[in-house]
């Protein structure tokens, strides 16, 4: 009798992640088209409008890139932590915590030189993100508590903390009772490069290379890979697996915290519950689609940023902005399914 079994392919296809992403994107747009058909809209019209209004002019391209910045940074943080096969679901909370830490330093510290002050504020955002993941990281290292659950739970804690702050001690008396902290001063806004493009995007490019270097070219990244493969092998190799995993978690949290800081200094200019529109969750999709590769995260992050901008403008012609989110999520689904066929093959074996 013949049996069919699934086995892993012997040769890894270097571009398989890219192809599956492409397939996923096509599937996602097909799903989007069906939804538009059902609403009696012409998908081609809607999609061309989305493209035009998200990348069609310098102005709209700037918007897309600004939108991509927090997605990319948080996605990079997730990918660094995933080097050691751990999942960070808490990027959303870390983004808020980065903004909260920034605001705390902003209130309690005054530095005359605004460039130095901006730098200090960005660093405090990074540290805020690290601080947010500190408890999950300690729980993982000391007691082995599942990090997926703890990082997810910290999101709720941080969002609760944000609500408390913006409704309480930090509430801006001039906000017409809107729950938000006071605006930061214009002198600490991140400078605009051109049109609307914030210099936050440059920071994002810089950190993409840092993440790439850390993961692919550094001793630290190597130790993370081995520790992620097998803790016993790490022990055998003389690698302190718990220590490197702990540091990776703090760095990854810091990336998301930095995303929050940049978002505050370039877009919202204040702490409010609207600071992040689910960037931390979308970043998980971005990181997972690209197989945790930094350069891929950068590119897909830009695409997803453009999709969000496109999604928000098509409301003007009566299409829900949720269309963009449907496309983003279906891309991941499609890509994961296709990735399966790149990784495994069906083989016929003789029954033994």
């Amino acid at each position: 009798m013949n049996k069919y079994i699934l086995t892993k392919k012997l040769k890894a296809n270097e571009l398989s992640t890219f192809y599956s992403f492409l397939f996923g994107l096509i599937i996602a747009f097909l799903i989007g088209s069906i939804i538009l058909f059902l609403q009696s809209k012409n998908p081609l019209d809607v999609f061309s409008l989305m493209i035009k209004l998200s990348v069609g002019s310098l102005n709209s391209l700037s918007n897309s890139l600004n939108k991509a910045t927090p997605l990319i940074l948080a996605g990079l943080g997730i990918s660094i932590i995933n080097s050691v096969k751990l999942w960070n679901i808490g990027a959303e909370g870390q983004i808020f915590m980065g903004a909260i830490a920034l605001n705390f330093v902003y209130i309690n510290l005054a530095i005359g030189n605004s460039n130095v002050f901006i730098l200090v504020l960005l660093v405090s955002g990074f540290i805020g993100g690290s601080f947010c993941i500190l408890i999950p990281a300690l729980a993982k290292t000391i007691f082995g508590v599942n990090e997926i659950i703890t990082t997810l739970l910290t999101n709720y804690i941080v969002i609760g903390l944000t609500l408390y702050l913006v409704n309480g001690v930090w509430k801006d008396p001039n906000s017409l009772n809107f729950p938000a902290a006071a605006y930061v001063d214009k002198s600490v806004y991140l400078p605009i490069i051109t049109s609307k493009l914030s210099s936050g995007f440059l920071i994002c490019i810089f950190f993409t290379f840092i993440a790439y270097y850390l993961k692919e070219k550094s001793v630290f990244g190597y130790e993370l890979r081995i520790a992620g493969g097998s803790e016993l092998t790490a022990l055998y190799a003389g690698i302190k697996s718990k220590q490197v995993a702990f540091i990776a978690m703090l760095i990854g949290g810091g990336f998301a915290g930095l995303a929050g800081a940049i978002e505050l200094l370039s877009q919202t200019h204040r702490v409010s519950t609207g600071l992040s529109q689910g960037f931390g969750y979308t970043a998980i999709i971005v990181a997972a689609i690209t197989g945790m590769r930094p350069i891929g995260i950068f590119l897909v992050g830009i695409l997803f940023g453009a999709l969000s901008i496109g999604g928000s403008v098509i409301q003007t012609i009566g299409v829900s902005s949720y269309l963009a989110e449907i496309i983003q999520a279906s891309t991941l689904f499609g890509a994961l399914i296709i990735q399966f066929f790149f990784t495994y093959e069906v083989k016929k074996v003789q029954d033994v």
């Binding site: 892993k8 012997l10 270097e14 992620g228 022990l235 055998y236 003389g238």
Partner: protein, 497 residues
Amino acid sequence: MNKYILQVKNISKKFGNVQALNKVNFSLEEGIVYGLLGENGAGKSTLMNILSGIYMPDSGIIQIRDTLIKKLNPEIASNYGIGMVHQEFRLIENFTIKDNLILSKSNKFQNNFEQIYQKYSEIFALNLKSSTYISELSVGEKQKVEIIKLLFNNSSIMLLDEPTAVLTPQETQQLKLSLEILSKSEKKTIVLITHKLKEIREFTDKIYILKNGNMVAQNLTTSATKDIDLIQLMMGEINRSEIKKDNIKGRSKLEVKELSLYSNQNFEILNNISLEIKSGEILGVAGVSGNGQVELANVICGLIKNYKGSIYISNINVSKKGVKSRKKLKLSYIPENRLGVGLAPGVSVLDNSAIKEYFKARYGPHLSSKKLKTYLSSLINQFAIKAPDIKAEISTLSGGNMQKLLMGRELIANPDVIVASQPTRGLDFNAVEAIHKLLVEQRNQGSAIMLFSEDLDELFKLSDRIIVMFEGTIIKEFSLEEFSIEKLGLAMAGINE
């Protein structure tokens, strides 16, 4: 009425090209404790799995009392009263003892549970309420529950796979008493699978011996059989292919002094081990698996800490030093567990090839991928490794190539001390020969080699001396002139004459 409760005739079973059982006969009478003896891979587990309905035999007959069994699966086997306790327990941890005992369909004591539980827990000296959760039990207690589970399933034939492997000496004594009661007063037939001679002698009435899938001895009476005969039957002749042992031994390279190790439960794992290996010498370490060999290798190589005693590499005390400092003194370790310890699964061939020396390719925080690649290609050339894609996962290599990569990685720098655990296990003939050649080359270049192996042919072929480990101690040491399969077998069974 048939005098046999179970008869197995001419059972054969093949896995791929391996003949696991070859026309095996096996007959059991009521109320007798049998021992089934054999080395690793002799076919003991295959036979037991056939009887408990997990494997289908390729050919042969199984007869239970007077009924010829056409088809056997776990459910039918248990209806006919065949029950097995596996080495890995099959209890549900977050259920109570009672829940686990009445779980089975064939359980017959649902109504008077407490009364029957009382009776059997007395026989087994299990002083626990039936409402206790399994997760709160010690290993020994879990095993008692496993055996009682068979009784609740009304098993008349109880197959116990290595039941004493996890027990303390006191628990072993208790088990012996309990099994005696069951066989005498309840007329249970018990089959004990083991390779410990001492227990065969203490526990059993009759003995069967398997070797390479053949039943080489049937129904021997335990009290009338000598240990030495059992060992000869179990191990047979040794093929000795010759390797010249004219190697010159130099200065001491590895020394272990009064080494002891205790588990978290204060259980003694290693007890007062001292040994010395000189440059150009191969010390073979024999012993039935689980007598402290893995732990000894791990302690010497720095993976296990918190031991007592001291370790010297090239006369430098490394007792307090970690894995990396020991490696820098040219210590290489080929661990027993290839994929999982020696190599990291899910990680690329390239990354795996660098595990020993990656810190030599570092410049500050930077890791030179060029250096790593050069290193790997020299490994591939020198050790004839077939690796189609160095960026693919390590598991894409065949077992032999994985071991060659691991050996090559550990040997290419001509280490002073090599600790090799089961380096040829599971490999085909050519790969075994290649690995033996590598070890002898290293010996001739002046390495001190500690070779842990369960393959006695291999130990006799390569070693200059052999030590035998038993229950965490070195029970006996043999010099080259004293090598004899009988004496070694006795020592492995814990008998020191």
